[in-house]
């Protein structure tokens, strides 16, 4: 019983992997555009809070370059990382808005 479940699961996973590699779920320009727009909007917010991270803008440029080469999967991955950075920067800015003397000085 256990072995047949295992086999079924394995074949399902293999089928999924095949489907992905054959492009059944391949990312498109539209997917990239959406991911890029979302990341850009978050970066804009971080900048308006005076706290963008150093490499987020560069990451968006890299994502654009990958998309131009048709590598949408990679491009979307980078854009999502950039979005994460921009959101983390916003969170950081909000938490530091009233930063003053650290406790260790006393």
């Amino acid at each position: 019983m256990m072995t047949s479940i295992k086999k079924t699961l394995l074949s399902a996973a293999a089928a999924a992997a095949l489907a992905i590699s054959s492009g059944a779920f391949a990312a498109s320009q539209a997917d990239f555009d959406a991911a890029y727009a979302a990341a850009s909007a978050e970066l804009k917010k971080a900048k308006s809070m005076g706290n963008a991270w150093r490499d987020t803008g560069k990451m968006l440029k890299k994502a654009e370059a990958a998309a131009k080469e048709g590598n949408f999967g990679k491009a979307i991955g980078i854009a999502r990382d950039a979005k994460f950075q921009a959101q983390a920067a916003q969170e950081q800015a909000a938490s530091q808005a009233s930063a003053g003397n650290p406790g260790y000085l006393y």
Binding site: K47, G50, N51, A52, W53, R54, D55, T56, G57, Q85, Q92, A93, S95, Q96, A97, S98, A99, G100, N101, P102, G103, Y104, L105, Y106
Partner: protein, 281 residues
């Protein structure tokens, strides 16, 4: 018995919390801040006199100091002081000179940065230099290196021995000071560092092959000939470099954030002589 232990633990936690808690930007006054920073460094580096902090890391590390003293025998910034002096004496196209904006006295370091109440902003010396240029029909200079650094070197050299004041005359000025303080202590960038992470908390410790310099005295020796740069650079150029090292996007040189930061840091350095230009690793 258990209750007693719990109560003691609670009291200890409360006391520890209230003593070591981080302060909010406006929770301490500028005068309290100056005392706090000085006390911290006096305890951290016992025996180092206050005025020595003008020399950065060379105040606290003998080997670095020996090397620096050897460099200072033939100061690498000397030709730039001469270039700056030439700039000071060379008339603009309209026949006037920089002297017309600065009471014919290049020793201006003690007057900057200052709070300009009419304009509600902090005015730094590089900003005043560029305002002098534009008022006389000249193009403004770039703020990080080159000609402005040379002129600043000459003016700083003429100002050696002056002490910073960075007075805080009213509530608007205090707000600018506090903004600068917030910039100093706000953690930022991918590394989640603030200026104090390196220059207060870790001052004297090593970051790879470099010894981190103490925050006290940081604004006194500019412009600086940095061996890493191989040229003279301005304070705001270094501010930008620090932010990049934290993996944060830097603010603009002479933008409001950095001018407020300079105001805060200069106030911290009250009573420590200006000794620019200087040489650093």
């Amino acid at each position: 018995m258990k209750l007693k232990k719990l109560a003691i633990a609670a009291v200890c936690a409360f006391v520890a919390g209230s003593v070591y808690a981080d302060k909010k930007t406006t929770e301490t006054t500028p005068a309290e801040d100056v005392n706090t920073y000085r006390d911290y460094f006096m305890k951290r580096f016992p025996g180092v006199p206050l005025e020595e902090y003008a020399n950065g890391v060379y105040a606290i590390d003998k080997v670095s100091r020996d090397n620096w003293e050897a460099v200072e025998e033939f100061p690498p910034y000397e030709p730039m002081i001469e270039d700056g002096e030439t700039m000071w004496n060379t008339p603009f196209a309209n026949g006037k000179t920089y002297g017309s904006c600065f009471n014919d006295d290049p020793a201006q370091r003690k007057n900057y940065p200052h709070w300009d109440d009419a304009r509600k902003t902090v005015v730094t010396l590089p900003m005043a230099i560029n305002e002098c240029r534009t008022a006389n029909g000249e193009k403004p200079l770039k703020y990080k290196k080159g000609a402005i650094a040379n002129l600043l070197a000459y003016m700083a050299y003429e100002s050696r021995g002056q002490k910073p004041t960075a007075e805080i005359p009213n509530d608007d000025a205090l707000a600018a000071y506090n903004k600068g303080k917030q910039v100093y202590f706000a953690r930022r960038g991918q590394f989640n560092f603030n200026c104090a992470s390196c220059h207060m908390q870790s001052a004297g410790q090593k970051a790879r092959a470099d010894i981190l310099s103490p925050a006290l005295g940081h604004t006194t020796g500019w412009p600086v000939y940095r061996s890493k740069w191989g040229e003279l650079g301005t304070l705001h150029r270094r501010y930008g470099g620090c932010m990049k090292q934290m993996r944060a996007a830097p603010y603009k040189a002479q933008g409001e954030e950095f001018r407020n930061l300079e105001y805060f840091m200069t106030h911290m350095n009250k009573d420590i002589e200006f000794n620019g230009p200087s040489a650093r690793k």
